[in-house]
Every structure is written in C-alpha cells, then in structure tokens.
C-alpha cells in the first residue's frame, strides 16, 4: 500500500468517525465491504469463515429491508436493487436509479434515504455507490454524479458526467482510487462515443476523460475504423466498475460494444477499443495496453464483465493475472502488467467464432453476423454471461461465473448503407443457465452446475468453502466450490438481483443479498 502513503496522511482529516479509511480499499474485506467488488481485485472472495460448510445450516435470517416503502421510492412498482451495497463502519450504502440509502448493517434499519429529482434517462438499473472519506458518490440516470454526506445523506454537490440529450445515462458504481472518483457512462440507443472520467473527490471537477474510441484518424486504434465519422460515433460504453492494481497503478476498464449495435456494415474493422479490457493509468487516464474480447462485435456483446485480478502460476511461471468471462462466451486470462494473452477458451459452447487469432482474440465468423433473413446464434444477446459479478476463489483456484447457453436469431432490420442506432435485433430463443467453475490455468470448465429453472446472479466465494449464488426460483443457494453441490438454500420469493456480500461485525458474520426491491441480511447468530 505504499502508493497510498501520502494520500493517507493528506486525508487523515477525512477519516472522522463514520468515514472510510482509504487503506481499507486495498485490503481483503472483513469488517467492511468498502467498494463495489469488496476490494480492488474484483475477486469477490472473503477471507471470513465463521459461516462455513460445517455450520451453514444454522445460517438464519437476521433482518429484511424493503426499499419499497420509501417515499418517492425507486422501489415501488418494479424496483430492483442491482447495486452491490458498500458497508463502512457498520452502515450499508446502496442505490437504485435516482435513490441512495443508508441502512444499519447489523439490523437493517434505515439510517437515511436520499431521492434525486430526475430529468429522465434510462432507469434500467444502478450498480451502487463509491465511498471516499466521509462522502458517498453515485450516478443518476440523468447523467449526474452526486456526492452525499455519509452521515445524513445530505447532498454536497452534483456534477454532470454526460449529456442526456445524447441518450447517455449513468448506472455504474463509481470507483474510488486515491483522489480520483472514476465514473463511467451507459447508453446504446444513439451512436455516441463511450468514455470514462476521473473527478476530484472534493469538488467533482473533471481530472481527465478517456474515450474508448479514437477521436481522430491517426490516433491509436483508428486503423480499425473506416472513417473518423464512424469511430466518433462508435459506442464502447463504460457500464461497469473497473478493477485496480495499486502496485502497477493500473485500472482495468471493461468497454462496451460498438455502435451501430447490430448492423455493423458501415464500420468494417475491429472497432478498437470497444468490447475490450483496457489498462489505464488512474492519474492521467493514459492507456497502458488493451486486449479486445470481441473484435467487430455485431451481437451486443459488450465486454463489460468484471476483469478479475489475482496472482497465479501459468506454465510454471508466477504471474500477475487478469481474467474475464466475457459476454461473448469466451474466458480470457491475460498478464495484467502487459496485456499479453495467456489463455482463451469457450466457457459455454458457442457457434459464432472461427477460433482465436495470434493475440488470443476471437475471429468472428461473418456468416453468424446478423442477417436479413436471420442467423441462428449462440449465445443470444443476453450473452454467455452478463453484468452480474463473477468470483475467483484462491482456495480452489477456480473462477466462477453465472453462465447461459442460449440461442436466438439475429436479424438486420435496416439494410441501408448507413444504418444507425441498432439497425437490427435478435429475437426469440431457448437456453439454459448454469454456474461454470473455470480452471484459470487452462480455461477448461472443471464443473458445471445447471439450474433447473434459469437464474443468473452475482456470485461470492468465501474461505468458509462456500460459493453463494441465486437460482431462477428465488433461492439464495450456497454451493460447494469444489464440485458445485448445493449445500443450503433460502427462498427469497424473488430471484437474487445483485452480488451477495459478507462482513463481520462484533464477532458475527453477516451475508447480505438483494432480491427485487428487498435487502436480506443473514447471519450466524448463535
């Protein structure tokens, strides 16, 4: 944590009671879950083991918080908590579009609720909040970054992060790295360029912006676009919270699909840096390296799945790794210092690729691009997986992902020379869902647990030899991470809608998960 040293001193004043000690962001979470992924690595692995295989059947419901009841609630009719809560000093902070809550992490009692007055934007979901010192940060669908006081939820300021008239919207959980509040943008209706920004934690002022697509011919990546006009409208939204390696001082940003989404005719080429994992310097926003998960995507397969950081051994060599189970059905392992590809393998059976190129990126089969009369493609638009966070368990060396093997038919709706927006879509489909446990060394699926009835949730693994997931019937399920056998379940009445988290307070380990508009707190109360 040397890199945080000076910052720690400078911000000591911020760490009044209730605030977050920024050193906590780098350490494995125990009494806190201070960021979207718990820590910077994106592993969603907890070293806590008070809840474990031998006592899981004593896990009991400790509290329930229904966000529905709040005045002006983002709950109500159809609300969904897709946010991973952050937990700091015994308080949980979570969001829904236009709303933020603070809830007692021991009792589920509301501490405060904040409602934003919206000017529109897509309200599809909000992934959560970032915390720095005594301040909370979250994005609104109408393109604002809002900073609230942790203790009472009073607004300090709000700053625009995108232009609503261009159909951008905010949904990502901001990432706090040193004195940077890193924000992403969502939106794939009009053909706009994606970007990621860094803001000053005190003032909200812009520190840097990095476009995911080149802005002029001659810029890095422009060789993969036919024209400046195409790449400046080339998409690549930053829907998901990046991960961070403090030693290498790199953030790992997963980028969205290119635009127009389905009809890719007017953007021949690989369309860099869309559908990629990109390493940036968090202080400057300068790109260090990139790896493209889906060159020239035409299936809405963004690569906005968590780039998970861990150290491992590949071919006898110790390496700093980043792994991604990408929406297109491929699992990738890269050296996270250089971006060099070490493994590419299908984690579900797919039908659209002709293999991988020398750099490890898949080679799309043009026949499986969307067609006027339809092309049967697997996975479907939902993808081999989607945004729900995966987990890596260092005890088993396995990477777990909520996966789906699905088919649908992709159509071109707009056959003109200059399609815009989507220009097509996929329809119908059949599929099945499962948890895949992937051996990172080879990319091979070690075990697969198929759900009877669908289900696609975020995952959590713990040192208690437990893997938590949600099925399609509203069950929160604990699986054996060694083989996928279900060990315990509780029916929440609605499917799990976020990634479960865990923390220990006063010697009690809690497990918190959202299903629909409700947060459930489980605990080992004995």
């Amino acid at each position: 944590m040397k890199t945080l040293g000076t910052f720690l001193i400078a911000s000591a004043a911020l760490m009044a009671q209730g605030g977050l000690n920024p050193a906590r962001l780098g350490a494995p979470p125990t009494d806190t879950w201070p960021t979207y992924n718990g820590d910077y690595s994106g592993r969603r692995y907890s070293t806590l083991s008070k809840i474990n295989q031998s006592n899981i059947n004593s896990l009991t419901l400790a509290w329930v918080y229904r966000a529905n009841g709040a005045p002006g609630g983002g709950g109500g009719f159809g609300g969904r908590i897709s946010a991973t809560p952050v937990e700091v000093n015994g308080v949980l902070y979570f969001t829904m579009p236009d709303h933020a809550w603070a809830v007692d992490a021991r009792t589920g009692r509301e501490v405060w609720h904040y409602a934003w007055t919206s000017h529109g934007g897509d309200h599809i979901g909000n992934r959560g909040a970032g915390v720095y010192g005594n301040w909370l940060y979250f994005e609104t669908p109408d393109c604002n970054l809002v900073s609230l006081n942790l203790k009472d939820g009073k607004e300090r300021w709000h700053k625009p992060i995108c232009d609503l008239d261009q159909y951008y919207f905010g949904s990502m959980a901001p990432l706090v790295v040193k004195n940077h509040i890193i924000t992403g943008v969502s939106g794939d209706d009009l053909d706009r360029p994606g970007y990621i920004e860094s803001h000053d934690p005190e003032t909200g002022d812009l520190q840097w912006r990095w476009y995911t697509v080149p802005q002029k011919m001659g810029d890095a990546g422009s060789e993969s676009w036919p024209s400046e006009e195409a790449m400046k409208h080339g998409g690549g939204m930053t829907w998901l919270t990046p991960t961070y390696d403090p030693e290498l001082n790199m953030i790992y940003v997963p980028t969205g699909n290119p635009q127009p989404v389905i009809a890719g005719k007017a953007r021949p080429g690989a369309n860099l840096f869309t559908a990629s994992v990109v390493a940036l310097n968090p202080d400057t926003g300068k790109m260090q390296w990139y790896f493209q998960s889906s060159p020239h995507d035409t299936h809405d397969w963004d690569a906005t799945q968590t780039p998970v950081l861990f150290d491992g051994e590949i071919n006898g060599q110790k390496r700093k790794l980043v792994a991604q189970a990408s929406r297109n059905g491929y699992f990738f392992v890269l050296d996270r210092a250089t971006g060099k590809n070490l493994a590419s393998a299908e984690y579900v059976k797919i039908n659209w690729s002709k293999g991988v190129d020398a750099k490890g990126s898949p080679i799309p089969n043009p026949a499986k691009e969307p067609q006027l009369d339809g092309a049967l493609v697997s996975p479907n638009q939902g993808g081999g997986t989607n945004w729900p966070p995966p987990t890596y368990d260092p005890d088993t060396g396995l990477f777990y992902v909520s996966a789906s093997r699905a088919f649908s038919v992709y159509y071109i709706y707009d056959p003109s020379d200059k399609p815009e927006g989507w220009g097509g879509n996929d329809r119908g489909g059949w599929g099945e869902t499962m948890i895949q446990a992937i051996d990172y060394k080879t990319g091979k699926v070690k075990w697969s647990h198929k759900w009877e009835d669908g289900g696609r949730s975020g995952l959590l693994s713990t040192a208690g030899k437990l893997l938590f997931a949600g099925d399609g019937s509203g069950n929160l399920v604990a699986l054996d991470p060694a083989n996928g056998n279900p060990l315990w379940h509780a029916n929440l009445g609605s499917s799990v809608t976020n990634g479960p988290i865990t923390y220990e307070l006063d010697g009690t380990q809690y497990l918190v998960v959202a299903a629909g508009d409700t947060l459930f707190g489980f605990a080992m109360l004995r």
Binding site: G428, G472, S473, N475
Partner: protein, 354 residues
Amino acid sequence: MRYGIFVAALLVAPAVGVAQPPAGASEALEKVCGACHSVETVTGQRRTRAEWQESINAMVARGAEGTDAEFALILDYLTTQYGPTAAPAAPAAGRGGRGPAFSPGPADKQVVDEAAANRGRKVYAAECITCHGTHARGSERGADLVRSEIVLHDRYGSTLGPFLKKGHPTQTTPAAQLTGAQIVDLSHTIHQEVYNTLRAALQIQNVVTGDPQAGAAYFNGAGKCSTCHSAAGDMAHIASRMDAPELQQRFLFPGGRGGGRGRGGAATAAKPVMVTVTPASSAAIAGSAITGTLVHIDDFNVALRDGAGEYHSFKRTPALKVVKSDPAQAHHELLDQYTDRNIHDIVAYLETMK
C-alpha cells in the same frame, strides 16, 4: 414501422374510458419485467401491439423469464394500457417529481407531431435533402443530422432555428427567410428521423429466402421432422396461421422453455413439460410413481399437477426419482444441428403450407 415510437401519444386524443387492465397482468409485468429493470422503464412508452410484441421478444432474448400465459397477459396489458391510444401515463403520485417517461433520453424529449413532420418533410425535400440525404443521415455534401448535437439539443426549433438563420446554405429559399413555422416543422421531421433509428422503430424484413424443395427434403430426411409432424396433418395451413417471421421463430423455438427463458413469437398454448416423481420405497406414499404437468422444479423441490388436477409437492432427496419429459426436447437438440441454410429452406417449405 413508419413513425417513431413517441409520435402516436400526442396525435390521438386520450381515450375516454381507458380499458381496464386484464386481471393479474400488472403482477405478471412486475414479476417478469421487474426482475431486470424498473417497470417505469417499460411503461414510460407508447407502442402498438406489434411493437410491444417486439419489445417482449427482445426482452425474452435478454433473459426475461415467464410462462407463455404471463407473456400473453403482459402483451394484453401493455397494449391496452400503453398502446398508442391509451391516456398519457400520469406521473405516479409521490415519486419524488419523476416524470412519466423513463425511456432512454431526456424526460422533456421532443414529442413528434406527425402532421408537422409531414409538412416539414416537404420543406426538407425542397431545402436540405440534396446535401443531408433522404433520411437526414448525411452525404458527401452535408453532415449527418441524426447524429448532430445541434439536433439532439433542439426542442421544436430552439437550436435548429438560430443555427439555420445564421445563413446556412439551402437549396432555394435563403435560410433567413424560412418561417418560424417551417423551422418547427423541420424540427419534427428531423427528430422523427432520429427516433426511427431507435430499436423499437424497426421490423424484420424478409425471411423467406430459402429453397422449398430443399426444405421438404430436410423435413423428410436429415431433420427427421416427419417423424413427429406431417405436411398434411398438424402442419397443414400452418403458414396461414402466422406470418413468415413468426413461423421461423415457432419452429426454431416451439413452446420456448428450458431454463424458463425463451419462446418464439406470439403465444399459442405450448405442450406442457411432464414430470414423473417416484418417492423412495420407504416413504409413506411408497413406491408409486406420480406423473403430471410440471408446476415447479428447482434443486430442492419439485411440484406437479396430476391428471385429476391434484397438486403434489416434494422435497428433492437422492432417493426421490424425478424424470422430466419436455415435448420440445427434440427441438432444443436440433438447435445444435441446423445450418442457417437448413433454417431458410425449412421456412420456405413451411411457407408453402398456406
């Protein structure tokens, strides 16, 4: 789809007695759609039945889970409550000042007046088209207006007017002489072109491109379709029961289940998945197998309704034997076998069965 999705709402006077939603429909909407996004995302919009069907199909492809009955209810509900002729959605009371529309884009987005857009189209043809193209997507001579920030920031001519009046080139009338009304009309036309690029504004073109003879050969040969279906029997007149895109979806994804997701096109009642449960020989209802329609199954429980309509529920244990039988299983397996050529040939063949 001729008009943008926001067009119809203003044009048609709000219906006086709004149709009542079908019973259970809002619950189905909440359950199926609310699992992924707030229902306001859906209900902030106005669409025709066909457009709502298209949206539902898109959501199914993205993993929306529900039974055919639920999807049918949702379609009815959305069409009656959020169709083009439905009354504008009232902002829900006490919702922190949130406006009615939570579709993408700003809440105060321009609502296209179709008559004005049609008038504007004439001005556009006279003054702009040679440079900006038929659908305002630009040409070598003029910028893409659909992607223009001046257009996206415009409301009813607010930024377009001042921009043109600065002396923008036109084809006949000097820009300064365009009337305020003409500018408003042009604004509607261009916004309509923007909305026409949105997902919901587009449709499947033509899926009948295959060879019916090759389709017949596949049907009776490699595809083994004829082992379960016959052209003169259950497939007779199938092409007059549904349009070609629907037909393509129906044969690829009949019933549409498996993981609870996916179904092809509009609902016709699917054959149910059956299940046979055999309790352990030591159990109270020892040994005798019970067969019925599968009601629910997960890793821990299974429930069925038997031939007499009785509901049975079981805890799953290693001793409890559960055998599922999905009538569409053969169809699921075919998905790994078809080439796209096979698919187009089959559609062409089924299309002959009018």
